[in-house]
């Protein structure tokens, strides 16, 4: 019988939303395959949050909890996951395709001689096999992929899979003895520099992005103000990143970040193919552009043709008004 191991990521001893998505997806696959599902968490103080996983259907959480696991280390973390995978004889490993997951999954593929499917946006079972769908060519095409190796790894794109709450399950927590030594921290995080308290575009449920149509960096606050009222994150086109208005960490697109929020608002962005590559999987797209023929309108669900400098402040005010009611 198959066994599924779900690696549940935490940072600063907090569970991320992607952790629930991973847990729920593993549980669903387990039900479909009749497979046992176990979760694995690594951290310095995560037992409290590990028990929350029961509400997502996880019956057993393996816990690698030691002070030295406070900060992520590629070498140490991937060794723990590979060891646990072997120890538990898991043949499917589910992980989220976050910064940590993307860093850790390839070494696991090598350690476990396992085929890895990156950045899955759909995953299903057909006749006992797992088939994953993932975007390629920056979302211009989709492929269905099967893994043929004994152990199979699937990394799930954050924000795509639905966390599903389940009643009446408490997860049993079992500590694992990792035997990790200092030599396993060859790659060591010395410091984490948080770019103020801002949400990252890849994690936000609403993303408001600005482009060259904003005319100058002094107007970018219009985008930030709107994002703030909506509780979202601000993003940018490459044109304004290259022009030095915004940092690269905010760039959305083929050579920036890929986002799939529920709502994406593109302001003064023409919709070049490389920009669309990073945001076309957003659930609802709004475009504000003064050129009615701008390609962004081809994929927008709603649009206003007009001057962003007038429309955006009005939009922010309107949202403020409606949301306070």
């Amino acid at each position: 019988m198959a066994k599924i191991l779900a690696f549940i990521e935490s940072r600063d001893n907090k569970l991320k939303n992607s952790g629930y998505e991973t847990a729920s997806t593993a549980v669903r696959l387990g039900n479909e395959l009749g497979a046992e599902v176990e979760a694995l968490m690594i951290g310095s103080s995560v037992s409290g949050i590990a028990s929350e996983l029961g509400s997502y259907g996880i019956k057993k959480v393996l816990l690698a909890e030691e002070p030295k696991f406070e900060k992520y280390s590629t070498t140490a973390y991937s060794k723990i996951v590979a060891d646990v995978c072997r120890m538990q004889a898991a043949d499917v490993l589910i992980i989220s395709a976050t910064a940590m997951g993307k860093d850790m999954a390839p070494p696991l593929s090598a350690k476990l001689e396992a085929g890895l499917v990156s950045d899955c946006t759909e995953i299903r079972t057909v006749g006992g096999n797992i088939i994953a769908t993932r975007p390629v060519y920056a979302g211009k095409a989709l492929i269905d992929v099967k893994v043929s190796s004994a152990i199979k790894i699937f990394a799930l794109r954050p924000n795509v899979f639905k966390p599903v709450k389940v009643d009446g399950i408490t997860s049993a927590i079992e500590k694992v003895n990792t035997g990790i030594s200092d030599e396993d921290f060859i790659v060591q995080v010395k410091e984490v520099v948080v770019s103020d308290e801002k949400q990252d575009v890849t994690e936000a449920n609403i993303v408001v992005s600005g482009g060259r149509g904003l005319k100058g960096p002094e107007n970018f606050h219009l985008v930030e103000d709107l994002a703030k009222v909506l509780g979202g994150a601000a993003g940018a086109s490459r044109a304004i990143v290259d022009a030095g208005w915004r940092p690269h960490s905010e760039q959305v697109g083929q050579t920036g970040k890929t986002v799939s929020p529920s709502l994406y608002i593109a302001i003064g962005i023409s919709g070049a193919i490389q920009h669309l590559a990073g945001m076309s999987s957003s659930k609802c797209i709004v475009a504000i552009n003064k050129d009615k023929d701008a390609p962004i309108f081809q994929i927008a669900d709603y649009g206003i043709v007009g001057d962003a400098l007038e429309i955006v402040p009005a939009l922010t005010e309107e949202f403020k008004k409606v949301l306070s009611n």
Binding site: K102, P107, Y137, V145
Partner: protein, 248 residues
């Protein structure tokens, strides 16, 4: 110091994707191929290291004869030696990494540079798998890097910030945009690249662990609604987002 760079050859970012007759790959007709954009950051990082610390640089690519173009582009920028592991087979990331690791084992570089991802299959795997197969550490999505007395310190992007990461050498690094500004090849470089030999090798591993069953285009969206032409459309847009799209 020995510095290796691994490069792939990919369709230009403006490519309009059409599905090929096998239903599993894209139709290559009319597609222009370029060196993977992220690999230019890797090549530039290799050249800067060489200029600072002296040493030799070598570029490796696994793939078709046409991958020589990516190698030549690296030559034109300043890389000195090139190896093509020549195969027409569609290899997955694990298989590519196995071939790279077999070549790199012999070369035994102090630092191996990769792009963070090939913009064809967007796998983000090859660099880190290769490193693991070689038994050396890897640091991915790097936007800043200093190498000093056998130690490397990198800045890498994570959600909402950056991590400062340290490692010993040998090490492998995958480059993210922001690491540097790749140089444009000058005429002398381009001319020199033309005559520089590329060593060809046979693949050492051709078994895939993943299988593409089919490729399709994403569902095209029905045309959206233009709500209006000026500020007066704002209340209606907000209403639609709340009541029709239900996203707010």
């Amino acid at each position: 110091m020995k510095i290796a760079v691994c490069v792939s050859q990919v369709p230009d970012t403006t490519t309009k994707v059409k599905i090929g007759s096998d239903g599993k790959t894209i139709d290559p007709a009319g597609v222009t191929y370029i060196i993977n954009p992220y690999d230019e950051f890797a090549v530039e990082a290799a050249l800067q290291l060489k200029e600072k610390q002296s040493g030799e640089t070598i570029v490796i690519s696994v793939g078709k004869d046409s991958n020589k173009e990516a190698i030549k582009k690296s030559f034109a920028m300043g890389i000195e030696k090139g190896i093509l592991v020549k195969t027409d087979a569609e290899l997955d990331s694990y298989a590519v990494a196995r071939n790279l690791a077999d070549v790199l084992k012999e070369i035994n570089p102090d630092i191996i540079l990769f792009g963070k991802q090939s913009i064809d299959y967007d796998d983000s795997q090859v660099g880190q798998i290769t490193a693991e197969l070689l038994g050396i550490p890897s640091i991915s999505v790097v936007v800043g890097m200093t190498v000093e007395s056998g130690k490397i310190t990198c800045e890498r992007e994570i959600e909402g910030g950056k991590e400062v990461v340290e490692s010993t050498l040998p090490v492998s690094v995958t480059a993210q945009r922001g690491l540097n500004n790749p140089r444009y090849p000058n005429l002398k470089g381009i001319m020199a690249a033309k005559s520089r030999p590329i060593e060809e090798r046979q693949p050492t591993y051709t078994e895939n662990k993943t299988e593409i069953l089919s490729m399709k285009l994403p569902k095209s969206k029905p045309k959206g609604k233009i709500v209006g032409e000026d500020v007066s459309a704002v209340p209606e847009l907000v209403r639609l987002l709340r009541e029709e799209a239900k996203v707010i």
